[in-house]
């Protein structure tokens, strides 16, 4: 190990400590595996699947039904056909992969139409009121991930 790397260790320990106390990983600090997966929880607080189900359906939040059919939400009218049906999605992806798809879909599916729900650098000309904001909060992402894990 080179000396400067050694010197960095205490600093990164410090950073970790700050992160842990702040509780939430900032959008620009999320670490992706080469396949687009994100293994660390964004908040450290376990996701709430019941709230995740609401966020999934809410047109102003996830609005996932715009593009995905999901039989678990059959009480909702009009499921979109742009993406794959999410029935049984928990059998196709593990938690880290699901989190990665939600945080930044483009890291898993290059060039996809699917929005990135926890990313700040989106398209040009983002409306003022959405600038510097992610579509979902870190905890909402965790909640949706927890909900997706129930789709078996």
């Amino acid at each position: 190990m080179k000396p400067y790397q050694l010197a960095l260790i205490p600093a990164s320990f410090l950073a970790m400590a700050t992160l842990a106390s702040a509780g939430t990983i900032k959008p620009d600090d999320v670490v992706f595996a080469p396949n687009g997966a994100v293994s660390t929880s964004l908040t450290g607080t376990p996701g709430d699947p019941a709230n995740g189900r609401k966020v999934f359906a809410n047109r102003k939040l996830g609005n996932c039904l715009a593009c995905h059919k999901n039989s678990d939400l059959s009480e909702q009218q009009f499921h979109g056909e742009i993406g794959p049906a999410l029935d049984g999605v928990a059998e196709r992806y593990d938690e880290a992969q699901l989190r990665g798809i939600l945080v930044n879909s483009k890291k898993t599916f290059e060039g996809t139409i699917m929005p990135s729900f926890y990313r700040l650098k989106n398209g040009a000309r983002t409306m003022k009121k959405f600038q510097g904001k992610t579509i979902l909060t870190a905890q909402q992402v965790e909640d949706v991930v927890a909900y997706l894990k129930t789709l078996k």
């Binding site: 047109r59 609005n63 039904l65 715009a66 593009c67 009218q77 009009f78 499921h79 979109g80 056909e81 742009i82 139409i113 929005p115 990135s116 989106n122 398209g123 040009a124 000309r125 983002t126 409306m127 003022k128 959405f130 904001k133 579509i135």
Partner: protein, 287 residues
């Protein structure tokens, strides 16, 4: 070749050739409009688009609407957009401005405008700029009538654009993309494929890659503008091309360009050219 790989390849080929086809989907492409001057056949489907088209087939937005909405467009008597067209016909015949002349004084019957819609937007060598139909109407109002220009995208101008467009109903759209308009066309193309807004999407993501599919309750069309101005049941008025562009941009949480801006005129030219071969259909009825 191993059997498994061959099967996989056949599968991939099948998937590729299963692109949207209105016929395969059992969708209706037959549109004949009952008008005061008899039936007018509308080309809503072009099987072999002009060379260089990014689309393998062209479809009017009418094809993707529900039976009920489609029906409203098959008879001018039922088309709710016609109320606005009649208002524009009154305006056509009414003098306005300091010169005290009406459109009719210079142009006679609106039918003198037949064919104009098919070639707009176009480069106007005399004026030295790209002109939309809206621009021409306002040019006349200001220069020849001494009247104030109408608001771009506003009710009066959009209705007049509908009246004039209607004179070309059934004729194929045929805008030029070369010569002096080329740079505007290139800009329009760039805008069409640029991802914008918090949702990070381009026009092409919805209208080129996914037309024929449902996005929630909306059946995605190719986003053609041959039907514009369009009467929308949603807001019960005639909607301009730029108004529609603005709406789509807001939906993806992007700040739209201004209605009447150079950017939207360039985009209008580019989108119009993607529909070269479809009939002018204005005023269309959409949801």
């Amino acid at each position: 070749m191993k059997k498994t790989t061959r099967t996989a390849m056949i599968g991939a080929f099948l998937a590729a050739s299963l692109a949207f086809s209105a016929q395969a989907g059992g969708m209706n492409t037959e549109l004949v409009i009952d008008t005061d001057n008899g039936p007018v056949k509308i080309i809503t489907h072009v099987k072999n688009p002009p060379k260089g088209s990014p689309l393998s087939e062209l479809y009017s937005g009418w094809v993707f609407r529900s039976k009920e909405t489609q029906a409203l467009e098959t008879d001018d008597f039922d088309n709710p957009g016609m109320i606005f067209v009649e208002q524009a016909r009154d305006a056509w015949n009414t003098p306005d401005g300091t010169v005290g002349k009406s459109c009719a004084d210079c142009h006679g019957d609106p039918s003198s405008m037949k064919g104009l819609r098919t070639v707009l937007p176009r480069w106007d060598a005399k004026l030295g700029k790209l002109m939309t139909l809206e621009d021409y109407v306002n040019e006349s109002r200001v220069k020849y009538m001494g009247a104030k220009p109408w608001k771009y995208g506003g009710g009066q101008l959009t209705a007049m654009v509908a009246l004039i467009s209607m004179q070309s109903r059934g004729m194929p759209v045929n805008v030029k993309t070369d010569g002096p308009v080329r740079k505007f066309w290139e800009l329009g193309k760039k805008l069409y494929y640029t991802r914008v807004g918090q949702l990070d999407m381009a026009c092409s993501n919805c209208h080129e890659d996914n037309y024929g599919k449902y996005i929630r309750a909306d059946h995605l069309s190719q986003g053609q503008i041959n039907g514009f101005p369009a009467y929308r049941l949603k807001n019960a008025k005639l909607n301009s091309v730029h108004g529609r562009f603005k709406g789509c941009m807001k939906n993806i949480r992007a700040t739209p360009y201004k209605v009447g801006s150079d950017e939207f005129k360039a985009l209008e030219l580019y989108v119009a050219s993607r529909g070269n071969g479809l009939s002018v259909e204005a005023p269309s009825v959409r949801n």
